[in-house]
Structures are given as C-alpha cells and as structure tokens.
C-alpha cells in the first residue's frame, strides 16, 4: 500500500516546547488512496496535532511525513488538501457563495469559473438558494456544510477533517454523516477524520486508528468491513456493534477511559497571540 499512500507517517514524534509535553510518540501510519480513515482517542491524545502535521500547519519533532508523494510543506503549497475544522471557520463578512469561492479566488480562478463551481458545490451540499446569505443566518449544520463545500471546492486529493461534527446535535450529526459519505463516494478523495465518537468513526470509516492517552501512540487499527454504501440501517447491524466493541476495547487498552484529567482541546501551538 505504501507506494500509493496518500499519507505516510514513519516514526513521527511531536513534543511541545523544549523537553516539554510529548504529544505524539512513534506514529507509523500509511493511508491509501480512497480510504476513509478516522483517528479516535481520548482528549489530548494528539489526534488533532497529527492531522495538523499532515497539513503542514505544525511540524513534527522527529520522523518522516509524506503527503501525496511529497513533503507536507510542498503538498500544502500545491494545495493538495482541503481542511474542515470543528467550527465552520467561515468568514462572517462573506456570503455563502463567496466563502466557498475563497480558495478558488486565491488560486486565480476567474469569476465565471468560480460561479459555476460554487453552483455545483451548493447543489452537492444541498444549500442552493442560500448563496447570498451570511454565515450568521445559517444553522450550525448548514455552516458546516458550507465549510465542507469550501474544502472540496478545488477538488483536493486529500480531505482533512478535525471533529467537523463535534459541535452539532446528534440528529444533525447523523444526517451530515450520511451526506459526507455520499460526497466521499462521489469525489475521488481520501479522508482523514478526527472524532471523539466511536459510533461515528465506525459508521464512516474504512479503517479506524485508535490512539492512546498522552503521549499519543497508535494502540491499534480496526478495519471496518461493513458493506458500502452505508445507510441509516448500518448502525443497527450486528457487525456494527461488534466493530464498535472492538474500537472501545482498544480505547480502554490505551487508557482512554481512565484519562480523568479533562484536557479540553488538543494542545497545538497557534501562530497568533493577542496583544
């Protein structure tokens, strides 16, 4: 698989500060083309950090990272991935259409081409008619759909998703899970998906990567052999329950259930400090 891996990690460590917190330790992982891989683990296990290393938003301390056959820095410059955060991170002053077109603007697409592409994407995420709205006029689920459309706009081979549905209610989350799978099937992209939810990971993924409490290590991989395409009934199958149990068992082995310390967000260094 590694010769066609979209993401390849070898011995990746991440420490914050000098001799400080070890966030990730000895991560080896290959993610192949068209895979849907979920990273799951307790809070503070470094799964978001790992995602950001793939996106060259932060750098690993040790180890090799290859994204789309190149160093992550080059992959970022080549716009090989689209990213979706837990918050939709829409620009409030832009309409829905202009938010979706943001990366296209920066890639120098002309107005007509942008408009055509935005129309396709609005259709894809079922937001036609909302192109002139501003983010505050949309519900959380709709905002996240805009954010997904924006990430898909330039057809990147890799989609990085950092708990994209974490802030949504259960019903919206399950509906968006189904929509995401349809989008994934329609596009040719590979997805790396960070989540806290065991059932979401099992439902969406072709493979689930279970990580331990800090320092984050890979405890095990679970191949999700549920039939495609997944439907509402998938969650009721016996196999779904078995796989959920497997993931939960690995999480327990990794200390995921005794992490008493409520570290709320992943620790990643951000570029900005307020004055």
């Amino acid at each position: 698989m590694s010769d066609q891996a979209v993401v390849s990690l070898k011995g990746v460590d991440k420490e914050f500060g000098t001799g400080g917190v070890v966030a990730l330790q000895g991560i080896d992982l290959d993610i192949g083309e068209r895979e849907f891989v979920s990273l799951i683990g307790p809070s503070g296990c470094g799964k978001s950090t790992l995602l950001r290393i793939m996106g060259d938003l932060i750098q690993q301390t040790h180890g090799d990272v290859v994204v789309n056959g190149k160093p992550p820095h080059q992959a970022r410059l080549d716009r090989d991935y689209g990213i979706v955060f837990q918050d939709a991170v829409l620009l409030d002053w832009r309409t829905v259409a202009k938010n979706i077109a943001l990366p296209l603007e920066m890639m120098g697409w002309n107005r007509q081409r942008r408009a055509d592409r935005v129309r396709e994407l609005l259709d894809l995420v079922e937001l036609s008619g909302f192109e002139g709205h501003h983010p505050w006029q949309l519900s959380g689920g709709m905002q996240q759909r805009v954010s997904i459309a924006r990430a898909l706009s330039f057809d990147p081979p890799l989609l990085l998703m950092d708990e994209p549905f974490g802030a949504l209610d259960e019903m919206t989350r399950e509906r968006l899970n189904l929509e995401l799978l349809q989008i994934w099937e329609a596009s040719k992209s590979t997805v790396v998906f960070v989540t806290h939810s065991i059932s979401e990971a099992v439902f969406l993924s072709t493979r689930v990567v279970v990580m331990s409490a800090r320092p984050g290590r890979i405890v095990g991989l679970v191949d999700i052999d549920l039939p495609q395409p997944r439907t509402i009934e998938t969650r009721e199958e016996a196999r779904f329950a078995e796989l959920t149990r497997d993931v939960r068992r690995l999480l327990r082995e990794g200390g995921g259930f005794d992490a008493a310390e409520p570290t709320d967000e992943e620790e990643y260094i951000v570029a900005e400090e307020g004055l």
Partner: protein, 274 residues
C-alpha cells in the same frame, strides 16, 4: 435529505441601514418631553436667565444669530475634521506597522495604552504655543493627537485578534501575508476600527472647541462660547453649545452610517425589528 430550512429573505438596504420609523417614536417622545420640562421648570420656577435660559430663548437666538453661529461652527468643525483625518490616518498607519512587526508592538503598546488614558487635552495650551494661537493648525494638532491613540489601540486589536483557525485556514491555502491581510485581518478589524473612528469624532470636537478656549481666531466657536459666557450673554453661549452639539452628533452619525454601509454583513447591523 431535503433541506428543511427555507432561505431567509434578505432585508432591503433601507431596513439594513436604519431602524424603522416606529422604533424612533419613544426616543422622539422623550426628547420633546425633556424640552417641555426644561421650558416649564425655567418659567415656572422663574430661574434666572444666566443660570439656565429656556429652550425657546435659545432657539430664538439660534435663529437670529444663525449666520455668526454657523460660520463659527463651520470654522471649528474644519479644525475637528482636519484633526480627525490626520489623527485617524496616522493611527491606522502606525497600527498596520505594529501589527506586522509584533516585537515593535510589544515594546510600544504599553505606552500607547498609557497615552490613551492620559488627558491629552491638557496639552492644548502647549500646541497653541507650538503651532500658533490664531490659526486652525494648532487645534487640528490637538484633535489629531486625541484621535490617534484610540484609533491605534483599536485597530491593532482588530488586526491581531483574528481567530487562530482562520489563519490556519489561510495557511492551508498557501496564502501569503498580503492575501491573509486583505481577506482576513483587514475585514476582521473593521468593527474595532469603526469603534475607534467613532470615539475619534467625539474627541476631535472636544479637542477643537477646548483648543479654541485656550485662544484662537474670533471666527472659532469655542472663542464665541467663552466670550459670550464672559459677558453674561448666556443665551448666546447656549446657542453656540447647541451648534457644537449638532455638529458633533452629525459627525458621529456620518461615521456610523459609513460603518453600517461598510459592515452590512455584521449581525449587529441588522434592523432592531428583526
């Protein structure tokens, strides 16, 4: 999997800029009642004219002395506007530099914030001394210095208080510094910038008028207020104060309208009836 929510109809431009007529009625009632109370109390309690002239007298003076008052008002407003333009431009420019070179900002910001808290107006006699008592320049300078610090502090805050994920997003698109500035930092700073600009209008008017108090041309409004009060012509002084107030409010309102036009996207700019 159909979309449940219907698109929200967008408000008209008028609705988005101003509040509906009905929303203004309570404020108008309060204004009229306040003026009536003032008039009634002054007449009923037989308050001496030099203590508090009744609104009817002030209005009459406003009308009879309109040429002098408005030409003096315009003279002083030019001082305020000039100072505001200079001070705000300088504030924004310095903010841009400091937001770009953070280390410089770390060194200078404590002083900017401290300067923002000192009564700069106390320097008015000094600027008169430096730039000439009788011309408009000295008042523009004090007005400009007054505007400079709040605009600087607010704009820097706006340019730097960008959500980290917005920067990560731009980084993921391989956006350069200029693109990030244009598409994220600058629009993000607008609410802060306009707060500074609005505070600046008030400070510029104060700077110009108080600057006049310390000596200025016979054409200046501040000089008129001081002179009339000095010769017990309090109705005339009050009329001049009304002119200053009207100009100050108009100045503030003009910047507010610009703000609403520039930030029609902002949730706070919705009509109150929404």
């Amino acid at each position: 999997m159909s979309t449940v929510v219907e698109p929200i109809p967008r408000g008209t431009l008028g609705r988005r800029i101003g509040r509906g007529f009905q929303d203004w009625i309570p404020a108008v009632v309060v204004f009229v009642a306040g003026i009536a109370l003032w008039e009634g109390l002054v007449r009923g309690l037989d308050i001496q004219n030099f203590l508090l002239p009744p609104p009817s007298d002030i209005t009459q003076t406003l009308w009879t002395e309109r040429d002098t008052l408005w030409s003096a008002g315009w003279f002083t407003f030019q001082e305020a506007l000039g100072g505001w333009l200079i001070g705000c431009s300088a504030g924004v420019l310095v903010a841009l530099v400091l937001a770009r070179w953070r280390r410089l900002a770390t060194a200078l910001m404590p002083y900017a914030i401290a300067a923002n808290a000192i009564p700069i107006i106390a320097f008015a006699p000094i600027t008169n001394n430096w730039f000439g008592t009788l011309n408009q320049t000295s008042k523009m300078v004090i007005a400009a210095v007054l505007c400079f610090f709040p605009v600087l502090v607010n704009t820097i805050r706006g340019l730097t208080s960008v959500r980290p994920q917005q920067l990560e997003l731009m980084r993921s698109y391989a956006a350069g510094e200029l693109a990030t500035f244009r598409r994220v930092r600058f629009p993000n700073s607008l609410p802060y910038l306009f707060t500074g600009l609005k505070v600046g209008t008030v400070l510029a008017m104060i700077g110009a008028i108080v600057g006049d108090y310390f000596g200025g041309s016979q054409d200046a409004l501040g000089i008129q207020i001081r002179r009339q009060a000095g010769v017990f012509a309090f109705t005339e002084a009050w009329a001049a104060i009304v002119v200053a107030s009207i100009l100050g409010i108009a100045f503030y309102a003009a910047v507010s309208v610009a703000e609403r036009l520039a930030m029609s996207w902002h949730p706070s700019m919705r009509g109150a009836a929404d």
